[in-house]
Symmetry: C2
Subunit: 345 residues, 2 copies
């Protein structure tokens, strides 16, 4: 599209010469300043169009100190939740005229987190958004002194730093209450990895709800988000059920959908029927969830909304406003893996 051969970038002054004005007037037009005579403005705009002028972001950044770029620090971007949140963030950022630079943590350590933030600072991003929910990286955030605004997405509430988060406890409670209301005496729980903030939140919500209902709190089975661990958990719970150890296993709340998939398979292999013998609730509502057999009842997290709110919070922060972030609330999606409690024949 551009003239071949000499694709040299042209500047304000080229446009100025063409339009017969000073470079500053062109700058004013480009930035939409008032106090430019309509006729002049038009002439300049035409020159811009004819020349195909594009302002140089680096020069602008140098003088304004703002790159209109947001840095996103993340890990596990290959998982559904973070990927979906990235989508929401990028879209919202773009809508606000910002672009998104991404750094992926090699490991969830404080050092890695610090390096990533440092790199962004050197890049002069306007703000850094941290999307990570694991172990030390989260801890690091709390202590971080950053020369640019640093906001966290998707960790638990944190009073030391602006935060956007999905209320995992509400989600855990939602799943648990749903099962209790169906008449189950108690609800078993397959957790996520212990260093995940989300896993902890869901666990807390589950336990609180059981306690509130006066239901026994069974021992949890630990998973790691992956289907295999869900499968293992399913075998474990099936064994408990068939042997009659501990509270009766008629309802299971699994901390994410992938593990629920594994668990479903394990129950099937064990000859147990869902939801007739055991009811199952997952978490996330991944796109596949509705197509599991049976279709999975789960708790939906609105990741896109999370991304949107994250950008909102950043922008407010950049404008100097002290925006308070409401948590995003998860929502129960009832499908076919949950049903009324039935005494086992």
């Amino acid at each position: 599209m551009l003239p071949e051969g000499v694709p040299r970038a042209l500047g304000l002054s080229d446009v100025a010469a063409r339009a017969g004005v000073s470079h500053q007037t062109v700058s004013r037009v480009v930035n939409g300043h008032p106090n430019v005579a309509p006729s002049t403005r038009e002439r300049v705009q035409q020159a811009i169009a004819e020349l195909g002028y594009r302002p140089n972001a680096a020069a602008r950044a140098l003088v304004t100190g703002s790159t209109r770029t947001l840095g996103l620090v993340t890990s596990h971007i290959n998982q559904y939740g973070p990927a979906q949140t990235l989508l929401g963030l990028e879209k919202a950022a773009r809508a606000a005229g910002y672009s998104l630079s991404v750094a992926v943590l090699d490991e969830d350590s404080e050092v890695a987190m610090r390096e990533a933030v440092d790199r962004f600072v050197a890049q002069s991003v306007d703000a850094v958004i941290a999307l990570s929910t694991y172990g030390q990286a989260v801890e690091a955030l709390r202590r971080f002194e950053s020369p640019v605004p640093l906001i966290a997405v998707q960790v638990g509430r944190d009073d030391s730093r602006p935060t956007v988060w999905v209320d995992q406890e509400v989600g855990g409670a939602l799943a648990t209450r749903h099962l209790l209301e169906l008449g189950h005496r108690t609800v078993h729980h397959v957790t996520g990895p212990p260093d995940s903030m989300e896993a902890r939140g869901r666990l807390l919500g589950w336990r609180a709800e059981l306690l509130a209902a006066g239901a026994p709190v069974p021992e949890v089975v630990c998973g790691d988000w992956w289907p295999q661990s869900g499968f293992d958990a399913g075998r474990e719970l099936a064994a408990r059920l068939l042997s009659g150890t501990g509270p009766e296993v008629t309802a299971v709340f699994v901390a994410n959908d992938q593990m629920a998939l594994g668990l479903l398979n394990a129950l099937h292999v064990a000859g147990l029927s869902v939801p007739d013998d055991v009811s199952v609730v997952g978490f996330d509502d991944v796109p596949e969830a509705g197509y599991f057999t049976p279709a999975l009842t789960t708790v939906r997290q609105d990741f896109a909304e999370l991304g949107r709110r994250g950008v909102q919070l950043v922008l407010a922060r950049l404008r100097g406003q002290a925006a308070e972030a409401e948590p995003v609330l998860p929502r129960l999606v009832v499908r076919s893996t949950t049903g009324p409690a039935r005494p086992r024949g």
Copy 2:
């Protein structure tokens, strides 16, 4: 960590003053130029460390014309393949000292693609990597005249533009041959969406292999990557099998793992056993694939490698080398959904 209150950025001259040299000498140290006396270098480095100096990327970009940033245009980043490739790209870019800016296409149209590239050009990225495999966006790439190097990842071979791609045809052939070698008379195929380049490649490989083996080429069933379409395809194929229409259905090559999941469920519901009645091969090798019941035989794509090669190609291009890209070869991963053909009782 930085001094509170006045987090003003400090520059080359601050360091220069502290070390008792000129700003240029500091610049030389920072950029690792030779011809700096060891003692001076050390003094400067100490000053840098003490002051916590960080070079200003914008100023550097202004004068060098390079931002050391790569732009990634993509869509469907919430799917496993693209997300995984993003991971590989980011890591390789970072290792080479580049950072990655991401733009997500709202739709796979030429206009959207052009806008995204334009935004990157305005941002003065050093190069743009297009990671998209759908319809018009791909077509757009072929015709694109861009003022910065533009390379494509994960579309088919394209002689008009540097390209990194997984050889989908080889993958399709691999899956098909595996099934034929197990003694199946022919192999049925569930495709991806018709506007996907990958889907087309897999289809081509499948057909070529059947023709080469002199096997009948059954009518394909169209899917759209999602599990539901795999489920529908499974029902369709089960019906064909049970009614005896067309070539015998004993082996199915499904164009991705998610659809294979749906198909597996449908076959199960229809009372068919995998692999005894029907063998199934997927594509991608998503992390869950090994935990399906039965564990899915599939074709693995090395997305991380794809990302790495993408960056390699870009860097070669930026150095003015005309690097030729070998395709990344997919690999068959045999698990439990495939077995020898057995005449149905």
